[in-house]
Symmetry: C2
Subunit: 225 residues, 2 copies
Amino acid sequence: MAVEAASGAHRPAGRPTQKVLSKERITAAALKLIEAGGYERLTMSALAKSLQVAPSALYNHVASKQDVLVLVQDDIITSIDVSAFGTEPWAAAIRRWAWSYRDVFTRHTPLIPVIAVLPVTGAGQTLRMYETLTAAFLDDGWPEPLVVPAIVALESFIFGSAFDVTAPADIFESGELAEANPKFTSAVRSQGLGAGGSAADAAFRLGLEGLIVGLQAQRDAWAAG
Amino acid sequence: MAVEAASGAHRPAGRPTQKVLSKERITAAALKLIEAGGYERLTMSALAKSLQVAPSALYNHVASKQDVLVLVQDDIITSIDVSAFGTEPWAAAIRRWAWSYRDVFTRHTPLIPVIAVLPVTGAGQTLRMYETLTAAFLDDGWPEPLVVPAIVALESFIFGSAFDVTAPADIFESGELAEANPKFTSAVRSQGLGAGGSAADAAFRLGLEGLIVGLQAQRDAWAAG
């Protein structure tokens, strides 16, 4: 305490307290920019400004915006629940992972167009998740050539479903075109909302359970030759 | 011919030929803006500028940017192949529609975050597509409450898959982290690419065939009780 007070007393007036720049702080600042204004908002100069550092200081830690996106993706991935892999059967583990994955990306939909096409090279946490998934598929007897296509198919469904969660409740209201489209209008009104009462959850549950059963059928067909 | 030439001759020098503003021209200009710079690029003033009209002229045709997006969505939807509905069995018709839908949105990925959450109210072509789909589901014996959730699940998979088509071929290259993630690295190298040799097509085929089989299983389970 005494040392800090003495140090503070000697600091020239007007010089702000400077937090040390780190990959963690850069990641947090980047996430904030993207969530506020989308991918377009994230530039190296905007990032430096939000961190109150010179761009040159930023470039000491990340070589490019691509580097920043890898940090962001890798941070978000750690929020996904992979705890059921290795402890529960394949279908139950996929189910828990997929619901968690969708919920995480529902809070980060502006990142989906970026992350869906971002190479995983250098993204340690992301690769760790894929390693965990691959092990679970192989332990369940999946043929190796089907593992990556199955993961990609599940992720595509999850990314699309994350958007759907953020859709307005009246997205399928046909309005004055209801009479011209009677079957669809009636189907929208009769749709099952499930226990939670959410149309997005009902569609995700139906699709996910369908994918789980259907991918297993594809696996068995492959094994049968 | 003679009239046109005479008319041209009488036009005051320097006055440009003005094409009549229409919803079709507004739609085409909006599509161009979005594809060039994403959703953020599409503003009413940018649209007016690209059409070389005053914003007030634009507002005579569309009340808001939301109106413009409905026009854009509705235009793109007409490119999707729905010709198999009503002529082929449910699974075959879904298959043709889904591949076509994915291919159309692969060319329009910047629109996915917009369209996935855009109400269909007033979008006549979009509603017509949903009406056609609903009729095909009902004709195939689907219980009405499952129709909309099944369509939403398929669309979510299609939207996510459209992003995946635009991903770089090396998206799963683990680079120097390969040794730390041996199972995934091996699975990426062994993945089946299918006849066309495209990883995205292989994943889409596996997921779509899985969804078709799995959704039918969900339908039968519902019918059974």
